[in-house]
Symmetry: C2
């Protein structure tokens, strides 16, 4: 009960996490409906078995004809064509275009046999069943050729991609209805503390309402995980042991993560599995721990809500994103801004400093307490002060991660 | 059937959309469980009815005592205190601390009556029931005061905010279980085209598989809308009329949006409601239209998939985000990069040019066809060329919106 003997560096904790994540090819996958796959991570390349388009098609509304017959046409030399039919998307012209003939055609409609170009409607006039060409077209003009979008055998989307709306569009267009995507990691939230009431309950006496459970749930959802959060767990060894053993890919334990007598989680993790890191040279969140229990990764997060948020974002979130096939990088947009006053830190420790942003200036928040969660709602983001830095002077340019 | 008489500017279309969106205070709202509210838009300020914390609490593991009694203590002058009890989170010490006494206390536990500070465990030694103080603490040290995080009457989160994980944490800690958020707009997708097979179907003959439906659904989800997409609609006036009248906040019609004979949607919208804009000076997507039908906003999007994506992102997405209380701005991250070759455009028209990015260089895609959806999956983002520009020279710095 004398604090941590040795604190690991943030980099060492990251290295341990990265070593604990399987290679992309070995991540768990599942097959889902392509229409539901946007924002998911594609597990296997998608290769087309069809040409798109699979037939020559018109790119304009106009008239399909033999291009050589338009040569010499102009508004002063209107060349007549007999309109012998109409061609709509999905409804081809059944005949063959002969000399002096044209077929009315719409964008996307299949080009009739015998035609090699489309004369846009803007360059025509109609006179009964006769179309007058007011201009020339060259062979192939306004015709989309077979496979010009996608050819048989093309990889249309590569594995590892977070699927975009247009990827879903392309995949849907080539006859693929189901996709193999990386399975969302199942993340169990284990909130401990006998003083805790369920989130949203009005605090009474010396009981407080849980803030960390719903906050962690939202963070896990953001990072592509699936939340398992049955309820708050009594701060008793048997209850915590059982919850640690319940099924999950990753377990986040909030509270009781330090080295005090009532901090059961580290002892239980050591007993049931392995504590790889316990105590990290950072502020807040120094009592953070991590390890393995059978196939699970377990993160021991401090109960103070700012520390809990910080420890999640530094460590647990990275693991959840990586096991879900996503980028390990911070999920925050970054901006470069100037400090309006100095930001003091201590060499040997990484600092997570909340700042408010006005224009392109950042002001460090005066309140640094790890228990003051409202400091993270009043701030716009945070600055990470590296462990080899004493902080930044007034006016320094710093990188802010925007919440 | 001679093209558009006048094309509106992109700016005019944006101005029409913005004028059609109610002020924030008049957007539709709904009350939901706070635990499900992350990423939603808060409709009303959340004000606290409680102090957080509602009692003085320890910020450290250590001993609660009367601070003046530690004066003079050091490792060379260990001052003894009788340990008279223990204080855990949620479990207060029932007595009153008297002269020469201390109570073992954990982080988060309520400060016992009579104590005014916490001596950290690191500065103590235990000898049976006696604690030896190895250092001094001043009054109030390591004690969190009532309301230091949040006071009664504080607005903890302001209306209009897209709720962050930590906002949900703070809200959960003040006894608020339900929130008023902006209702997600109900967006009906109306895909027309007799040549279309449902998404994911293998194309056969002159039929093609729908790409726009699932792409639009993913875009709408991204922008906070709720998708209504029952099925593809026959390209027949009665079917389209009925679908336009089905309930929705916003209707997106894909296909048949131009001025051809088979383009029913603009005529039906004019008949049933109002066409405000039809034809826009841009490429692709110039046949885009928009208007109102009773309380609905209706967007007529071209059927060509690249045009559909572009028209969505320029216009429909803006309206969906705004009706959902979100930022009207583009939902894409932006980077400044150099062009590896010139990008040619035409004065009088806005161009949407797909580019590939390597390092900090952008290469315009050679394929510009509005039907080549794979050009948007092979590219990394797009450049918008303003209507007063002839394009950008080789080496110019341009802003790219990253997909």
């Amino acid at each position: 009960m004398r604090g941590f003997a040795n604190r690991a560096t943030v980099e060492a904790a990251w290295a341990w996490i990265d070593s604990a994540i399987p290679a992309f090819e070995h991540l768990n996958t599942e097959v889902i409906n392509a229409g539901k796959a946007a924002t998911r991570i594609l597990a296997k390349d998608v290769t087309s078995r069809v040409d798109v388009p699979s037939f020559a098609r018109s790119m304009m509304d106009g008239f399909a004809l033999r291009s050589e017959e338009t040569y010499g046409a102009s508004s002063y030399n209107r060349l007549p064509f007999k309109v012998v039919g109409t061609c709509l998307p999905g409804v081809p012209f059944s005949g063959h275009i002969e000399t002096g003939q044209a077929v009315r055609i719409m964008t996307g409609a299949p080009l009739p046999a015998g035609a090699d170009a489309v004369l846009p409607v803007e360059n025509t006039e109609l006179d009964g069943e006769t179309m007058l060409s007011l201009g020339e077209v060259s062979s192939g003009k306004h015709v989309g050729t077979i496979g010009e979008d996608i050819r048989i055998g093309d990889v249309v989307v590569h594995q590892g991609r977070q699927l975009r709306p247009q990827d879903i569009g392309v995949i849907s267009s080539i006859g693929v209805s189901h996709l193999s995507v990386v399975r969302r990691p199942q993340v169990r939230i284990l909130i401990t503390g006998n003083e805790l009431l369920p989130a949203g309950t009005t605090p009474i006496g010396y009981q407080i309402a849980d803030a960390n459970g719903p906050m962690l749930a939202a963070l896990i959802e953001r990072d592509g995980g699936e939340v398992i959060f049955p309820s708050i767990v009594r701060d008793e060894p048997d209850a915590i042991r059982q919850a640690l053993l319940d099924p999950a890919d990753i377990v986040l334990v909030s509270g009781g993560s330090s080295v005090g007598q009532e901090d059961y989680a580290p002892k239980l993790l050591a007993e049931l599995g392995e504590v790889a890191i316990h105590g990290i040279a950072m502020r807040p969140s120094s009592p953070t721990g991590m390890g393995r229990l059978q196939e699970r990764l377990v993160f021991l997060l401090p109960g103070n809500p700012v520390s809990c948020l910080c420890a999640y974002d530094f460590f647990a979130g990275r693991a959840i994103r990586a096991i879900g096939g996503r980028s390990r990088d911070w999920p925050y947009r970054r901006v470069l801004v100037r400090l309006t006053r100095k930001l003091v830190s201590t060499v040997g420790r990484v600092d997570y400093a909340r700042v408010q942003i006005h224009g392109n200036e950042a002001t460090p928040m005066a309140i640094g307490g790890a228990s003051i969660l409202s400091s993270t709602t009043r701030s716009d983001g945070f600055v990470i002060v590296p462990s080899d830095s004493e902080g930044f002077p007034d006016g320094a340019q710093v990188e802010v991660f925007l919440y």
